[in-house]
């Protein structure tokens, strides 16, 4: 097996505030291969966005990436690079797009000018050539009348068009890895379909890898080949996408899948995960999910589960891996017994 494009080991990103230490990302390890599309799913506060910002070293104080964390990208150790070298990696080799493109685009410059600025910052290229490349990129990301549209300001474009511009800007320097943080969450479902299709086509065409961060299991199922499920700052399950959906192992993954209303399937009541997502200032002891888990037993309150290998490329942070018979007897989780609604 060749070395992965990106290799993250024991990533810890903590925020030291007056309220205490928020352990937002708490020991996360994963790889991304070249041309691979990996999804990270989880609910708000699970650490998925902080993970992606950490990869680009975009964590602002009071946040810090803790000593002992390692991020290797294409053979270089990102956490030991100086600021100048890191700046060259950002945009050039690793690009990122965000949920709300309006806040990431400058309202006082035309989109063409903003796109053309990218190659001018990173290489010696004439203004005219840069503009031509900007127009070409607008056409690549499917903007109609790209030559005219290049002279538009961000507010003159729809949300879907702005997201296309953002993708175009991210791709100007042909990055090896594109990090997409909830790229379609603010968009309508028909526009979301357009953007996901565009991202897939561009990945095939350019050979880049994509790290897609989302809360939507449907988006993950349709556009990634491998899935990482995060809960309370940790990876709780990781598997190939088909494997994960066919045989979810971790009770949290299972809960997410059954809590979602699904098209074409009417049920009297939705299955719920009782309780709420815990606070990063005080993750529950031992298994961080045990209070909300319908299978938890005494061991789960005492011993933090490791990531058990449960199949080819399939890992799960749950003691059920070694005591599978416990799955046969679900009970009311602690969080439901306390009677505190989320």
């Amino acid at each position: 097996m060749t070395a992965p494009l990106l290799s993250v080991r024991d990533l810890r990103t903590y925020f030291r505030t007056s309220a205490g230490i928020a352990r937002a990302v708490d020991g996360v390890s994963f790889d991304i291969a070249a041309n691979e599309s990996v999804g990270v799913v989880g609910e708000s506060g699970c650490g998925k966005s902080v993970t992606s910002l950490s990869l680009l070293r975009l964590i602002q104080p009071p946040g810090t990436i803790e000593p002992g964390s390692r991020i290797e990208f294409d053979g270089s150790d990102l956490l030991s690079l100086d600021d100048e070298a890191m700046r060259r990696i950002r945009g050039n080799r690793i690009a990122m797009i965000f949920q709300e493109p309006m806040t990431a685009l400058n309202p006082v410059f035309t989109v063409g000018a903003q796109l053309a600025e990218v190659p001018r910052v990173h290489s010696r290229i004439s203004r005219r050539d840069a503009w031509a490349r900007a127009v070409e990129m607008l056409s690549v990301v499917g903007i109609p009348d790209p030559a005219e549209r290049a002279s538009s300001y961000p507010h003159q474009l729809s949300g879907g068009m702005r997201q296309r511009v953002m993708i175009g800007m991210a791709l100007m320097l042909s990055p090896a890895l594109l990090i997409a943080d909830e790229p379609t969450t603010a968009l309508d479902v028909t526009i979301q379909a357009q953007i996901l299709e565009l991202l897939g086509a561009l990945r095939e065409k350019t050979g880049m890898s994509v790290l897609l961060i989302t809360h939507d299991l449907g988006v993950v199922a349709e556009s990634t080949s491998r899935v990482i499920v995060m809960y309370a700052g940790e990876i709780v399950e990781q598997a190939a996408v088909r494997e994960l959906f066919a045989r979810p192992h971790h009770p949290y993954t299972e809960g997410l899948m059954t809590a979602m209303p699904r098209a074409g399937e009417r049920r009297e009541r939705l299955t719920v995960i009782p309780g709420t997502v815990p606070s990063p200032y005080a993750w529950p002891a031992a298994c961080r999910f045990h209070e909300r888990c319908p299978y938890a037993w005494e061991r789960c309150e005492r011993e933090a589960p490791p990531l058990y290998q449960i199949g080819e490329g399939h890992v799960s942070r749950c003691h059920l891996a070694v005591e599978p018979e416990r799955r046969a007897s679900p009970h009311l989780p602690l969080a439901a017994r306390a009677g505190a609604g989320a």
Partner: protein, 354 residues
């Protein structure tokens, strides 16, 4: 569509927002946010109202409660003409019609305890006072899955799901018969969303509530709604029982919308209809059928740009606005007179054939 036993009956509801221009701020046009919608709601029923941003679904919900004044149309609630009411009787009627918002944080006063927020409606409508009101607040909090002692806390001390429960308790306090639920679970995480949906369904059964459930998430609406209305550019373009609409969508827009929902099943194979372009501006909607510039129906032709399609009965209890989906009351000669070259034909997406 008419129903003798309806709780709420909406006819040709219209809301146009003026666009002003020039130094004199003269009216130069209008945004046709809601452009003549009609439907009925029975007691205890849930009508889902779906559509993409800007389709007018939120404006419609607010216009029904007269939280914004409709431009035209008729709203009959429990036999009362809502639009004809003076402010005082309207206020009394609001006891019977409530609303739950998407973001409970911005709809709760941050300086008021949760108990005081829930109690407000009781006081305004003179339903309870003193210790009776306190007892009622505690009972309401328990009913929505909170603890009675939560009454003395402030909104910021609660999670998003808990705040939405407070919003529901507040609406419930005045014993309404009808609640407009405007994207009530859109801001919540999946695991919490399921809890709130179950709560809304439990309360509906316990109190015989009717809901107008406004949402952009089609899967949530499929789960909770008895009937579903699909809006596009201010108009209802399809209206049917939820099962019929999801199994056999007739309007090409609904077909595309349903095919675009990402399915959490990587094995699923289906034809996705990816629509070209964006939703046009409601300030300048296309002529004829508002959907025609993006429509994928193979029989689409110039007549679609000239004839406004009526919302017509296509199947039992299933209404849709499309002159190319058979059957249609716009006859072929009439379509030809408008320049049509392709006769109507029933087209169903793959998903519905399976």
């Amino acid at each position: 569509m008419s129903d003798a036993q309806s709780l709420l009956s909406v006819r040709n509801l219209t809301k146009h927002f003026p666009i002003t221009g020039g130094v004199m701020r003269r009216v130069v046009g209008s945004v046709r946010a809601v452009d003549g919608i009609s439907f009925d709601l029975a007691p205890g029923e849930t009508l889902g109202l779906v559509g993409e941003s800007g389709c007018g679904k939120t404006t419609a919900g607010r216009a029904i409660l007269r939280l914004i004044e409709p431009t035209a149309g008729e709203i009959i609630f429990e036999g009362t003409d809502v639009r004809a009411l003076e402010p005082e009787p309207l206020r009394r009627l609001r006891r019977r019609m409530q609303i739950v918002f998407q973001d409970p944080f911005s709809s709760l006063d941050p300086r008021m305890t949760v108990g005081a927020s829930v109690r407000e409606g009781l006081t305004i409508h003179k339903l309870a006072e003193g210790s009776a009101a306190d007892a009622r607040v505690r009972q309401l909090l328990e009913e929505v899955g909170l603890r009675p002692e939560h009454a003395s806390r402030y909104p910021h001390e609660f999670s998003g799901g808990q705040r939405q429960r407070v919003g529901i308790a507040r609406a419930l306090a005045v014993e309404p018969r009808f609640i407009v639920c405007d994207e009530p679970v859109s801001a919540l995480d999946v695991s919490v969303q399921a809890q709130v949906i179950n709560l809304l369904q439990d309360l509906q059964r316990a109190h015989g509530l009717a809901y107008l459930f406004i949402a952009h998430d089609l899967s949530v609406v499929e789960h909770i709604a008895d009937r579903v209305a699909v809006m596009y550019l201010g108009r209802i373009v399809e209206l049917a029982a939820a099962e019929a609409l999801y199994a056999r969508p007739l309007m090409p827009y609904t077909q595309a919308l349903l095919s675009a929902i990402p399915v959490p099943d990587p094995q699923a194979k289906r034809e996705r209809i990816v629509l070209a372009g964006d939703v046009p501006s409601p300030a300048n909607p296309p002529s004829g059928c508002p959907f025609h510039p993006r429509c994928q129906h193979p029989q689409r032709d110039v007549a679609c740009a000239r004839i406004v399609p009526p919302l017509e009965l296509k199947e039992d209890g299933h209404w849709a606005a499309c002159i190319k989906q058979t059957p249609t009351q716009i006859t072929w000669p009439e379509q030809q007179a408008a320049g049509a070259t392709k006769p109507p034909e029933r087209i169903m997406p793959d998903r519905a054939k399976a």
